[in-house]
Amino acid sequence: MLLTAGWTAQAQATLLEGMRQLEHRYGVSFVYDAKLPVEHPYGGRPLDGRKLETNLDRLFRRSGIEWRVRGKSVILKAVPRKDAAGTAPVTPVVLDSAKIVDSRQPLLSETQPGRLDLPARTVWKMPVLFGERDVLKSLQLLPGVQPVHEGFSGISVRGGYADENLILRDGIPLYGADHMLGVISVFMPESVREVSLYKSAFPARFGGRASGVIDVRTADGNASRLRGSLTVGLLTDKLHLDGPVGERTTFSISGRILHTVLAEPVLKQLDRSTNYWFHDLDVSVKHRLGAADALRLTAYSGQDRYRRDERSKTPEPGAGSVHHMAFGWGNTLAALSWLHEPGSGPTGETTLAWTKHKSGMDLRNENGSTAAALRSQPSLQDFTLRSDWTAGRFRFGGSYILHRVYWGGEQSDIRETVEGRIVRDTTFILAAPEVIPLHEAAVYGEAGWSLSPLVRLDAGLRLTLYHTADKTFAVPEPRLSLRWDRDSRWTAHASYTRMSQGLLRLSSSMTTLPLEPWMPVSGARPPIVADQWSIGGAWHGLPGWSFSAEAYYKGLQNVVDYTVSYHTFVSSDQWKRMTASGQGRSYGVELLAQKTAGRLTGWLGYTLSRSDRIFPDGRVNRGIRYPAVTDRRHRINLVADYALTRRTDFTASWTFASGAPVTIPSLMADVGSEDGIKNIRYAPLRGNDRFPPIHRLDISITVNKELRRGSRSWSFGMYNLYGARNPDLGWFSSVGESEATEKTPAGTLYYHRISLLRFIPSVSFTRSF
């Protein structure tokens, strides 16, 4: 019945839905100004032409939008007013934007409330650390988005924690999407077609996380000829190839390695102490079964490895020391999708996928007669089946994910020998191995209606079921978004959405470790439920500029935190006992001024926000409200991209953010427990102080040259140009007796700050062919 309804409703589809259809079918991406009326209804012929150009012509006829195909991009711009007179669709849109469209396109697109699209082109322009173009790092320059730990891992969307983001790679969730503790993400720009960030007004097709959705779509490979690029940078080398195989098949393959991976066999031979490396391999093959159907096989594998060996030898037998430390983590993903894109009628995608997030650690310390070792191997496997369909204005579908959390397997040994005789051999079973399953099933439906020529309502409902060994939770998640286009200059929107989350991961406030296991919900720890209200507006009255503002309030139920503080290795039972469920809230205002045309483009984003937690049962922070790890009062991002010449771009970004909250003990006190009285550093409340604000300026110059076949590009950059001393790494320590002064007496706590990321230059060379 739904299919029939969708078929008859085809006449009410929007231009945007048609664009999505063409993106899927031809592997192109659309680049356009946010002001273009892509949300307007499309009532033309079905998009069933064989050629892309034919379908583009049908889609945009009489829409006031003209198109141009450039490579894999379709560039849209408004038809100049004199040409568009009388042909504008339905609404009295005055396409002033035509004045501002030139060969340069805006760096950001706000296509619908709560969503920001980041074209792959923008990712390529951003000045970045070590010259590594990065999707997630670029997102951190947007209002409402920030790193959880500055310079390093985790993305926080509107005060959410890193585990509260749904990071999708072609619709399949990825876990731990970082290399180098978050310096670089696992997404290679070469294989990325488009990135969408949802901060609010989440469509019903997304679920499973509480705070943000990062939807990364990879490119299918072009159907015309073999193309590729080779990039050599300070840190990594990358190779990308895509093209056709026969008439019906296209492929795309991207690989990246850290230079040091090549050195590992040699270093091992030389018995050298330390090495770290990672690699990524990204493969996509699409095969057209006919005019309407295609199969797509995607696979990804990325692994990080760190090894450190130290050995000191002494003449006395048994008196030397050996330190061995090895870490590893990574993702493996394989997905097979059936794409049904008939041109008219319902279109859909059904995917069967398997993902594995694995981490491991092996530590060994031998010091004279004492040896200690620790091994840990938590992992998470997902088996996913999802199906998403679009029929006219309706989208519907469902998904089932079997999460299998491999918790524990953490074991430590301490052994002591005296004169060759073992006097102690202790095995610490820190966390016995166990497999904890979580069944997550969801169905959803969503649709958009034009209530009037100026008002559009998008509504959806998602029902998510979480089934664990001891309990089943059903969470209905309504999604509502209302948009009012007052005229071509003013738009306003409001939304309410509910999201839920069944997999949780807690991190230290100091850093996020890839070894931290995920924990499914249980009777004791129900799913996180986030209700978000947002209201905003945009003004496009100044040619070449756009201004937007959005205010939001997000209430969170069942957030989890450690009752006292973070612990690295605990069993699942201990995790439950050492954590508590409480409430959280985030609220704030985001302002974005964007210059969308001219030689200078860019944006200025400002976020005023607050994020906190409270545990009314008193088990955390004595029941007193405290700032969340992600709480930052102010954040400013200024991004500017200036076309020095036709071939040369200069990009700069400046970031300022209030300091992160920190818990500072101010007293030494006795605290008693069953095992006696311990003398401890006593902090009265969580987050009773703050780190100083962070700020930095990053720049980048890119020089492109079109060659007879392909192009070449040199990129030079500097991260933290003026060397701001931000606390990138560090640890707490206290003043010793010998170094005590009147101002800093013995026992005074300080943070040993390491400002690692200063004046970091970068250079990379890319040859596309």
């Binding site: 202790t426 690295t568 030494m668 069953e674």
Partner: protein, 333 residues
């Protein structure tokens, strides 16, 4: 050119820097610091009172302590150690214990209700080589979330048949719960020696047997009973002595905060962290539970019940003065 190169290299080498970041968190001069662990198994209770300062906790001597049990005042005396305050009371489940610490300018207060008592069912002890295997049945306190601590103590007694002298010694033994499916999920096993186990008792919740009963299996090293200290005092005495060694199973119901704090501390002070110290880089400062108003610290009350099982008898006779004859009271596995 060379000059520029040197400047550039020098700049790059010196890019990262380390320094100390000081915080301006307001410091309190001194704050009352009150801790106590009261137990129904003992009528003498100790309260430790100190002042927490930025450098260390200093025993408080200028304070007075008032104690009320079910509204009745109980006399409190200063202990031998500075900052210790002692009172005697036979506490029973559901008793309400109020403590008020009065110091110049401030007053701290805490009130606790003695938890309900759990029950020990049957206790079976067998001998498996060098260890005792103890199967202990525990009955949960119904209709509430309960937290427990299980201790096993070694009790050794001896008396002279001719002299009439009696000796008694009791001490807590290290137990190994690693073979038990509930207790052993995250515990320590020591294949060679039980002497090095840092913690004696086992703490657990009733999550696995809510409102029901469960049998735990723990192991206790035989070597812990090898040399009772009083044996040394018997040297030179008449040899006609009879001795009995027993295992005393003690089950205490404890407050949730006590349970959580104990578990937290056991990780914090773990051998593992000593030996793999880098893990502490990821640790963060915590905010500890606190159940004393206007002070730092906790006064916890636990409700305990015990059951003893004789495990062996020893007889010293003049026939073989150095070697007692041993009669096992528990079967071998």
């Amino acid at each position: 050119m060379n000059h520029r190169l040197v400047i550039l290299i020098s700049l790059l080498v010196s890019v990262s820097c380390e320094d100390r970041l000081w915080f301006s968190t307001p410091k309190e001069e001194k704050v009352l610091n009150v801790n106590g662990l009261l137990d129904t198994s003992d009528s003498l209770h100790t309260l430790r009172v100190a002042y927490a300062t930025s450098e260390k906790a200093i025993p408080a001597e200028d304070v007075s302590v008032l104690c009320h049990v079910n509204g009745r005042e109980v006399p409190v005396d200063a202990g031998e150690r500075k900052g210790d305050f002692l009172f005697r009371s036979e506490l029973r489940p559901s008793d309400r214990v109020s403590l008020r610490v009065v110091s110049p300018g401030t007053e701290a207060f805490t009130e606790s209700v003695v938890p309900r008592q759990a029950e020990i069912g049957t206790v079976q002890v067998t001998r498996d080589g060098e260890v005792f295997v103890c199967r202990i049945e525990v009955r949960d306190i119904p209709e509430e979330d309960s937290f427990y601590r299980l201790d096993i103590r070694g009790r050794q007694r001896a008396y002279g048949r001719q002299s009439g002298l009696e000796y008694k010694e009791e001490r807590t033994l290290a137990v190994d719960p690693s073979g038990d499916p509930v207790l052993g999920k995250s515990r320590v096993s020591d294949r060679y020696s039980y002497q090095h186990l840092e913690y004696d008792g086992v703490i657990f919740s009733d999550e696995a047997f809510r409102d029901g009963r469960i049998s735990f299996t723990v192991r206790v090293g035989l070597n812990q009973l090898d040399e009772p200290y009083f044996w040394y005092s018997l040297e030179g005495s008449p040899v006609d002595y009879h001795g009995v060694s027993s295992l005393v199973v003690k089950l205490s119901s404890i407050p949730r905060e006590d349970y959580e704090l104990t578990e937290y501390f056991r990780f914090q002070w773990d051998d593992l962290y000593d030996n793999l110290g880098f893990l502490s880089y990821f640790e963060e400062e915590g905010v500890y539970p606190n159940n004393v108003e206007n002070a730092i610290g906790n006064v916890f009350v636990r409700s305990s019940v015990s059951q003893a099982v004789d495990i062996l008898e020893m007889d010293y006779t003049s026939d073989d003065p150095g070697h007692p004859s041993i009669t096992w009271k528990v079967p071998s596995e």
